[in-house]
């Protein structure tokens, strides 16, 4: 019983690392551009497949991660500059529709280029580490370690650099930030660079943990949103707590409900949060 709980919590931390990286992007994009980015899950998918492409060239997985992050960041910026930028003058909700269409378009491209079947980064069985009855795969350590590194890097960026500070200022108070002369367009481009690259990392880690499939990102979009809302949407730091809480809750819930309903658990927590405290744990926007 306790062993199982501990084991599921470890799986939950692994899933939570993936969700956190996705939720930070969703949260930042919402904070600065004021819309829920529905293509974020499919950006994760695209990142995972960019990683697969790089692995296919013979690169090790950690280098493929860099390729995936750079490639996805570039795609995110290109989508923003060619499409979302034109729609920014209208209501933000139009961007939401557009991103929903973009989600399906990205998924179709992935399916056209890489095919509809399951794929993996590397074949063969990994020898797991055993601590008593607890099993930890080496990949799990890489995923959690990678996520922690990226989150620390993001923290340093947001708190130490001028651009990071400008980004937080825009998320806190757009009008005030613009009056003080913050270059809005450059901040938006950087938002997509960070959101896109973190999404790619989340996708690669998800692919490492399970397998690659064209709907892999879409299937975790709901938990990612739940994590962002739980942490207070618009608050990147809240997304970390939200991601971990949702990830652990989803895995631990399998002790009680069928594993197929894991997304439903994330959804239930989110709905509960919307009823009790819509501004999120750390007071984002309602």
């Amino acid at each position: 019983m306790w062993t199982e709980l501990l084991q599921l919590t470890i799986y939950g931390i692994v899933l939570g690392s993936v969700l956190t990286l996705g939720a930070i992007g969703v949260s930042m994009i919402f904070g600065i551009l004021r819309f829920a980015h529905f293509a974020h899950g499919d950006l994760m998918t695209l990142g995972a497949y960019f990683g697969l492409f790089a692995v296919g060239l013979g690169l090790p997985v950690w280098a493929a991660l860099g390729v995936a992050m750079a490639g996805t960041a570039l795609v995110a910026v290109v989508i923003d500059q060619t499409l979302y930028r034109r729609l920014r003058r209208t209501q933000p909700v139009i961007l939401l529709i557009s991103s929903f269409g973009m989600a399906l378009a990205i998924r179709s491209v992935v399916q056209l280029v890489w095919g509809p079947n399951n794929q993996v980064y590397k074949q063969g069985i990994q020898l797991p580490h055993r601590i008593g009855d607890i099993v930890v795969k080496p990949d799990h350590l890489w995923i959690v370690g990678g996520a922690v590194t990226l989150v620390v890097a993001m923290h340093l960026f947001l708190s130490r650099t001028r651009m990071g500070k400008a980004m937080r200022a825009m998320a806190d108070n757009m009008d005030l930030a613009l009056i003080t002369g913050i270059p809005a367009e450059r901040v938006i481009v950087w938002t997509w660079v960070i959101g896109g690259s973190l999404a790619a990392a989340a996708g690669v880690f998800l692919g490492l943990d399970t397998r690659l499939h064209p709907v892999m990102g879409w299937s975790v979009l709901l938990p990612v949103f739940a994590a962002a809302i739980l942490g207070g949407i618009g608050k990147p730091y809240g997304a970390i707590a939200g991601g971990m809480a949702i990830g652990i809750a989803m895995e631990v819930s399998t002790m009680v409900v069928a594993p197929a309903y894991k997304p439903a658990v994330a959804f239930a927590i989110m709905v509960l949060m919307l009823i009790i405290r819509p501004q999120g744990l750390f007071g984002g926007r309602s």
Binding site: L87, G101, A258, F267, I275
Partner: protein
């Protein structure tokens, strides 16, 4: 045979266009009039279809359904079930920004899909529900043409009611909320209640669309209610036709359905080994079409009619 085949295919296309037009009218009530972002159309579509199917299909041992009731009972049940789910979701999200409604509705649609797939006692799981009767079969036999006329009659009724709603004081309040929430609140309107009403009625109409769909195909399975077919196509139809305009919603449904079916004919000419890829290509094309419409003609084919009477709009 060729001519007969084309006629059968024509009836098939018109019937499904009618079903989609009903659902687009439902979405128009939510998004077009009230500005509510329901991205879980597929969920209400599925609830309507399954409720109707379970109430009307013949008895069986595999799952709970099979009451062999008449079509009107199934249709009424479909409307009631989707309205009930909309009431619950609406109650939670009405006070929040519409982005939360979007996230909540996509969540409920996904959960409905999970339930359909996993709860075999209720829905027969991925095997689906066969033997859903075609209404009017007792009078005119199993005639697709008669069913097409029934769908078109129901579409005409929904259209009539939607137009009445649009021009009624109720519809004016909805549009006032969409345009300026604070002003509508200042005028003493209970915004949350009006929003909830629009959301529930719109979702009930989508449920009716699901019922019509189930009785037309005679067989339903969870596959038919993925977000792509259920939600995305209906959204593209409404945006292309012109949100806020009921006639636009119907026209959009017909045009996009014709385009969607047309691309199927085109990709059908590809060699069979490209079948799955062809599906992805069609989705990509429709996805790009949506972006082009949003950038180039966001008001759609038939823009929303301007309100009558004197307006003092400085820009127009």
């Amino acid at each position: 045979m060729e001519l007969g085949g084309i006629a059968t295919y024509g009836v098939f296309l018109v019937t499904l266009a009618g079903v989609y037009a009903v659902m687009t009218l439902g979405l128009n009530l939510q998004w077009g009039f009230t500005g509510q972002f329901n991205i879980g159309v597929a969920g209400f579509f599925a609830v309507g279809a399954y409720t109707s199917a379970l109430l009307t299909s013949p008895a069986n041992d595999a799952y709970v359904g099979g009451f062999a009731l008449a079509f009107p009972v199934g249709l009424a049940g479909a409307v009631a079930a989707s309205a009930l789910i909309a009431l619950v979701i609406g109650w939670v999200t009405m006070r929040l920004r519409t982005d939360y409604l979007a996230i909540a509705t996509i969540g409920i649609a996904e959960i409905i899909r999970l339930v359909l797939k996993n709860e075999e006692w209720l829905t027969n799981g991925v095997r689906g529900i066969p033997g859903i009767p075609r209404p009017l079969a007792g009078f005119v036999g199993d005639n697709p043409l008669a069913y097409m006329l029934l769908v078109l009659a129901i579409l005409a009724l929904v259209f009539f009611l939607a137009e009445r709603a649009r021009t009624s004081p109720w519809g004016r309040v909805l549009r006032a909320i969409r345009e300026n929430e604070s002003a509508a609140m200042a005028a003493g309107k209970d915004i949350a209640r009006f929003r909830l009403e629009a959301f529930v009625v719109g979702s009930a109409i989508m449920g009716a669309g699901g019922s019509l769909y189930a009785h037309f195909l005679g067989f339903i399975s969870p596959e038919a209610f993925d977000p792509l077919h259920g939600t995305f196509l209906v959204w593209v139809m409404l945006i292309a036709g012109g949100s806020g305009n009921n006639l636009g919603a119907v026209v959009g449904a017909i045009v996009i359905w014709a385009l969607w079916s047309g691309t199927e004919i085109l990709t059908g000419m590809l060699p069979p080994e490209y079948v799955t890829q062809a599906g992805a290509l069609r989705v990509l094309l429709i996805g790009l079409l949506l972006q082009v419409i949003l950038v180039a003609r966001p008001e759609g084919l038939l823009p929303e009619p301007k309100p009558k009477g004197r307006t003092r709009d400085p820009e127009g």
